[in-house]
Assembly symmetry: C2
Homo-oligomer: 315 residues x 2
């Protein structure tokens, strides 16, 4: 069943002990560049450095005691794996994460550091699914999908709930789009509170399946998605796509150079670290892909997990 505003409110109460209420920052220089007022919800400052902690905490907290005793499992080389690992640890249950054996060292460390048991697979979908099935067979763990899951979607919606609670009269809300969990939850929260708000999603040009799907009216799978915004390569799920069709006004795509430029601009002017997947929203504004002039604009900065030894600008 599609999550409602009430599910998102319930999620907010449920996860409060496990997450940060992240700050909303503003920046006069970026306002000047955009020709309007921008309000940045800083999920890069969330626990594990990404909004994913919200959905993971909401899903783990709702397991019944019997299921919880067997733990949770997922395949993710990114922020969801780390978030599920931390949420499980905070609630005293086991987490099993299947990761490709070519995952970046920093991601391995994060997941291992939060106490999850890692199972290595080959970097293929077939191997990943095979190893996840084996983990579930062995442990009885509950698989928590990173985005195509109502509890995850409701949890991700709590960031927008906090943003709209704190900032009045937003005209537009912009979020990145990967698998669609963040924008789905955000759109339900924001449109339920203010039906006039426009919801805009942003993707990299190299992984623009959500834009194509919305245009086609049917789920289009990405062909060889590629981008420095490595959190946005996943395809939409059927649940997130259905919500996007109902609630999202537009999806736009931005270039790789615009992403790198926007990321650096935020680092330099706002003094916060955002990952490329977060920078797509700012890139869309700076490139003029969304018309925000004169409109009060909320932006969800989704995460800040970056390998500081591999920055997307010349050193």
């Amino acid at each position: 069943m599609e999550p409602t505003l009430q599910h998102i409110r319930d999620a907010a109460a449920r996860i409060a002990p496990y997450i940060h209420r992240t700050p909303v920052l503003t920046c006069a220089t970026l306002d000047h560049m955009a020709g309007t007022r921008l309000f940045f919800k800083c999920e890069n400052l969330q626990k594990v450095g990404a909004f994913k902690m919200r959905g993971a905490a909401n899903a783990v907290a709702q397991l019944d005691p019997k299921a919880a005793a067997h733990g949770v499992a997922t395949h993710s080389s990114g922020n969801h794996g780390a978030a599920l690992a931390l949420a499980a640890r905070l609630m005293g249950i086991s987490a099993y994460v299947v990761m490709p054996n070519n995952a970046a060292a920093i991601k391995k460390q994060a997941v291992a550091g939060y106490g999850a048991e890692i199972t290595w697979c080959e970097p293929t979908i077939a191997s990943r699914d095979e190893f996840l099935s084996a983990v579930v067979q062995r442990t009885g763990a509950t698989v928590i999908h990173p985005y195509n899951n109502e509890r995850i979607i409701a949890g991700q919606g709590t960031a927008a709930l906090e943003l709209l609670d704190e900032i009045d009269a937003l005209d537009v809300l912009i979020t990145p789009v990967g698998g669609g969990g963040l924008i789905s939850g955000s759109a339900i929260a924001a449109k339920s509170l203010n039906p006039k708000i426009r919801i805009i999603g942003v993707e990299p040009e190299g992984a623009d399946d959500a834009r194509r799907s919305l245009a086609a009216g049917a789920l289009v799978l990405p062909m060889s998605p590629a981008s420095i915004a490595d959190g946005l390569l996943a395809p939409l799920g059927d649940k997130t796509f259905a919500i996007i069709r109902s609630y999202v006004d537009d999806i736009v795509a931005v270039s790789e150079s615009a992403i790198a430029h926007a990321m650096r601009t935020v680092w330099e002017r706002m003094k916060i670290i955002i990952e490329p997947s977060s920078a797509v929203t700012v890139a869309a504004i700076l490139e003029g892909k969304v018309d925000v002039a004169g409109r009060r604009c909320g932006i969800i900065l989704s995460g800040g997990n970056v390998d500081l030894d591999r920055l997307p600008w010349g050193q």
Copy 2:
């Protein structure tokens, strides 16, 4: 006259329209490393990227109309110059900044971008003073010293006021020490609100004149100060030293490698950009130079102005 808590409270009300109320962030990983709870007052997220905006706004706002008509002047290649320029612009008056002709391009851009008139001098104290005198002769501007000034000190104290207002029962407050404006204002605010709080200053080993001065009981000038913490090279002033002697419990010094390591740790774990001058406080904790175990500890992260093309770790 030495500023009092009331001066700092008045400053807070006076500068509120011109500054950000910066967030206080926490980080479970750093808490774990430190063996206690740490509360980071994020002045790196302040306007112009540094606490200096507080003092500058407080000083500019108190000029009488006749003096304001002639503008303000300073010599500063760093955050004070940018802060004075922005404070002046926001209040509709002129700012004149004398800068050495070898200042980093990013610093020139900041000061010029905030609308100040820059006068270039040779990178010597004699040239700097000569050019500043000439500017004052020509314009009638009021010179605003970066730290040895009661109104600047009171303004800088407002960050600690906000921190103690937001976080209960701090046992220790740690700040960097350069010219002493930040620690002076912070110490007056914090000790006035809670006489039992310990105030600890941190310097780079290569510019440890405050530590030496406190030990000697007399102002010791730094000999060829050098550090990547380029905001902490200035000598104490007589006013800041007098306050430090009265209110500060200890001053410790940290190594260059500890500063770079602490800076990177904060970037990686907290997802915020701090400059080396801010990282000295975290370095002191991670190096064990201050005993914080089990003590609730406030830290003022003083600024976030970093040249992203010159990071103090290998690329």
